[in-house]
């Protein structure tokens, strides 16, 4: 598919599968023969299908961050890491797809591949990549680590617990890249730049608001196999925003103002 449509992913095999092989080998070592008991299977299939797409979009975000770091003259090892993280996310995408398959198959998910990553508002190369990094690493990946850790503890399945542990181990590095970048860029960013980055972080956080709307169309009760009920997700999210996003950004002079 291209542009808008139902989300699908495929692999071409041959030398390209062999090249990716060492990076994805740990997926094959997971306990796939486990018998899965899934009372809320529809909810969980939806979670893992959406998870596959989130990882796919994160791969695009890191590919663009790597390009932006090159344009900004950032340290090459940091740039290499960002490029490498795109591969991590592609491996996570495959893993999420296989977990959805293990639960009975993916759900039909409507996506727009032309809109995988929000473009930055800033034009100057350093501030533009800083904006991308704050959104992706300092907000998205920092929240992901905390929430997937909570989902791992509640998984109730050796397969899903091991899968989530593998993903979280990678995502922790992805979040750290953001704060390492900001420490490197400290003397290169102005006070106005920091206000701009705070606004970008606040906007990224505000975009999560629809997750917390109380509605009969929202499924709120499933926990386990990677899903969290609202009673577990909502406080974990609020705590992660405070401790993993707002506080470390404030330490770097980026004061994020969020709506109460």
């Amino acid at each position: 598919m291209s542009g808008t449509g139902i989300f699908e992913i495929s692999a071409i095999g041959g030398p390209w599968a062999r090249r990716l092989g060492p990076r994805r080998a740990w997926i094959d070592d997971l306990p796939w023969d486990e018998e899965i008991h899934a009372p809320g299977v529809e909810d969980v299939r939806r979670v893992w299908t959406r998870s596959a797409f989130s990882e796919y979009a994160s791969a695009a975000a890191f590919a663009e961050i790597a390009t932006g770091l090159l344009a900004a003259g950032a340290p090459i090892d940091l740039t290499a890491a960002a490029s490498d993280f795109a591969i991590d996310e592609i491996v996570h995408c495959e893993l999420a797809a296989r977990l959805a398959a293990a639960l009975g198959g993916a759900v039909a998910l409507d996506v727009d591949l032309a809109k995988l990553v929000r473009p930055p508002r800033a034009h100057a190369p350093l501030l533009a990549v800083a904006e991308r990094i704050v959104r992706t690493c300092c907000v998205g990946e920092a929240l992901t680590v905390r929430l997937l850790n909570a989902a791992r503890r509640a998984a109730g399945s050796a397969l899903f617990e091991a899968a989530l542990a593998g993903i979280v181990a990678d995502e922790a590095h992805h979040a750290q890249l953001g704060f390492w970048f900001l420490d490197w860029a400290e003397g290169r960013l102005s006070d106005a730049d920091r206000v701009h980055l705070a606004d970008a972080a606040a906007a990224a956080l505000a975009a999560f608001a629809p997750l917390f709307v109380v509605s009969p169309s929202v499924s709120c009760g499933t926990t386990g196999l990677g899903a969290l009920s609202c009673a577990e997700f909502d406080p974990a999210f609020a705590d992660a925003v405070r401790r993993s996003v707002i506080r470390p950004l404030a330490l770097r002079g980026i004061e994020v103002k969020v709506a109460a």
């Binding site: 989300f7 959406r50 994160s58 998205g140």
Partner: protein
Amino acid sequence: MARRHRIATLLLLSAGCATQVAGALTDADGYPLVGNVVAKGSPRPRPRPPAPPPPRQAAFETGEAAEKSA
């Protein structure tokens, strides 16, 4: 002359003939929410619109309609 590669892609994720479609979690402008925070099982899917008939069937139905109107 270079040999062409025989391509056979392996489908890793496909919803097949699902009757309902869920939306990706996006912001107001249609960009995906950052990170992977989809552990919360919301919102529920909506009915999937029927796919257009394959070209041959469409041609047949068009022909049939033409016969009826004739």
